[in-house]
């Protein structure tokens, strides 16, 4: 029997599922872990460790092992993606109006229209310094970090490992960033709906995942109006503006959820133009992109993860090789 538990955290829906006698206990342990991580890594909570790091820019700060690990991973992915993944875009994100939680923006809107001219150039993310011996971090003055691009994947990874210590077979999803460990005992793969970014109540396809990770980034989910402009939360670090991309969403399937999370964003921001560049050294990674007309485009082997439940035209539409 697969047991599951849903709750809201990190401004999104979290779903845990596990099989086995200890599944319930494991899910509650994972839930507590996720809620603790939210308190620690949210940029919207003044008491969070991340807020403290941002306040300490220009000075060394002793940080937890978890924050240290996340920042080091961020730097690794920043280099891997040629700078497209960049957690230091927080000032640009605020400038675009995302200066409070999305739940708050959805109910109250953005505070005011930001007419300020372009922000002064900010330090590059790779100017961050680590003192591993004393577990300290130095972010340059005027740098602000937003871990939104990686924290969810990292938390899902850790929560799934925790849940796995209670249950051989489990899955953890936070807002559609999903890690499955083991295959369900009924012998089938895990089924995952691929939402239509234009209408999330509709699905475009159904994926079957034996185990491993799935993550999706979309420019349609976290949107708001800033004056007359429609804004979204995915900042292109090359322009400092919400990314002007030719895709609405990108879903990545690969063994590692943090990689899936980061590359879904990088591919969405980079779009068709940067696709080959980004995937050059990632043979284990498959992706599915949805264009504004709802057509799917994908990497060479993405069909292996989709059900051919409709017509063949579905799977042969616009495949990119």
């Amino acid at each position: 029997m697969i047991r599951s538990m849903g709750f809201r955290a990190m401004n999104t829906e979290v779903l845990l599922a596990a099989e086995g006698e200890e599944a319930i206990a494991g899910m509650y342990a994972a839930k507590l872990f996720i809620e603790d991580c939210e308190l620690r890594f949210s940029r919207f909570l003044p008491a969070s460790e991340l807020s403290e790091l941002n306040r300490s820019s220009g000075n060394w700060l002793a940080v937890s092992n978890e924050l240290l690990e996340m920042l080091q991973l961020s730097l690794k992915y920043h280099h891997e993606t040629f700078g497209i993944f960049d957690p230091s875009i927080l000032s640009d994100l605020k400038q675009a109006g995302y200066d409070r939680s999305m739940d708050e923006i959805r109910t109250k809107g953005v505070a005011d229209v930001h007419h300020a001219s372009r922000l002064p150039s900010r330090p590059a993310f790779d100017e961050i310094s680590f003192d591993l011996a004393d577990k300290r971090v130095l972010i340059p003055s005027n740098m602000e970090i937003d871990l939104g691009g990686i924290a969810k994947g990292w938390i899902v990874e850790k929560a799934a490992r925790l849940l796995h210590s209670y249950a051989d077979v489990c899955g953890v999803s936070a807002g559609g960033d999903i890690l499955f460990i083991g295959s369900p005992l009924d012998g089938y793969d895990w089924d995952v709906y691929l939402e239509d970014p234009r209408d999330p109540a509709q699905m475009l396809s159904q994926l079957h995942i034996p185990s491993g990770a799935v993550a999706t980034s979309s420019v349609m989910k976290r949107t708001w109006h800033q004056g007359e402009k429609v804004r979204h939360h995915l900042i292109d670090p090359r322009t400092g503006e919400p990314a002007n991309t030719n895709w609405l969403s990108v879903t990545v399937i690969c063994p590692n959820i943090i990689t899936a999370d980061v590359y879904a964003k990088a591919l969405l921001i980079g779009g068709e133009k940067e696709r080959l560049h980004l995937l050059k050294d990632k043979p284990e990674l498959e992706f599915i992109a949805v264009d504004p007309n709802g057509n799917l485009r994908g990497s060479q082997n993405y069909k292996e993860y989709t059900y051919a439940f409709a017509s063949d035209t579905f799977l042969s539409t616009g495949i990119v090789h």
Binding site: M5, L15, G176, D177, D191, L194, M203, T251
Partner: protein
């Protein structure tokens, strides 16, 4: 009386023939399954999640916490019965 019976028979015969003919025409003009165009928007929508139900955790401290169970059942591979979805957040 005889004329009335004859009229009724004629009416029943006529309406039966007309119904049969109109059904035939409708079926003949309906798109065949192989010709139906796929539209992503018409694909089956998500089934509602199972309702919340209490569970018996067998002596742990979580008995009063909300949760719900998914009963183990054979899953048709095209059954659209997953409870995981991905679409960004």
């Amino acid at each position: 009386m005889k004329l009335l019976k004859l009229g009724i028979r004629f009416w029943i015969t006529l309406t039966s023939l007309l119904s049969f003919a109109s059904g035939w025409i409708m079926l003949a003009h309906a798109p065949k399954p192989s010709q139906a165009e796929y539209s992503s928007a018409s694909v089956t929508t998500l089934e509602p999640l199972p309702p919340l139900s209490d569970f018996n955790a067998g002596g742990n401290n979580f008995q009063n916490q909300p949760s719900f169970d998914i009963q183990s059942q054979p899953r048709a591979r095209l059954g659209f019965n997953s409870f995981f979805s991905t679409g960004g957040s």
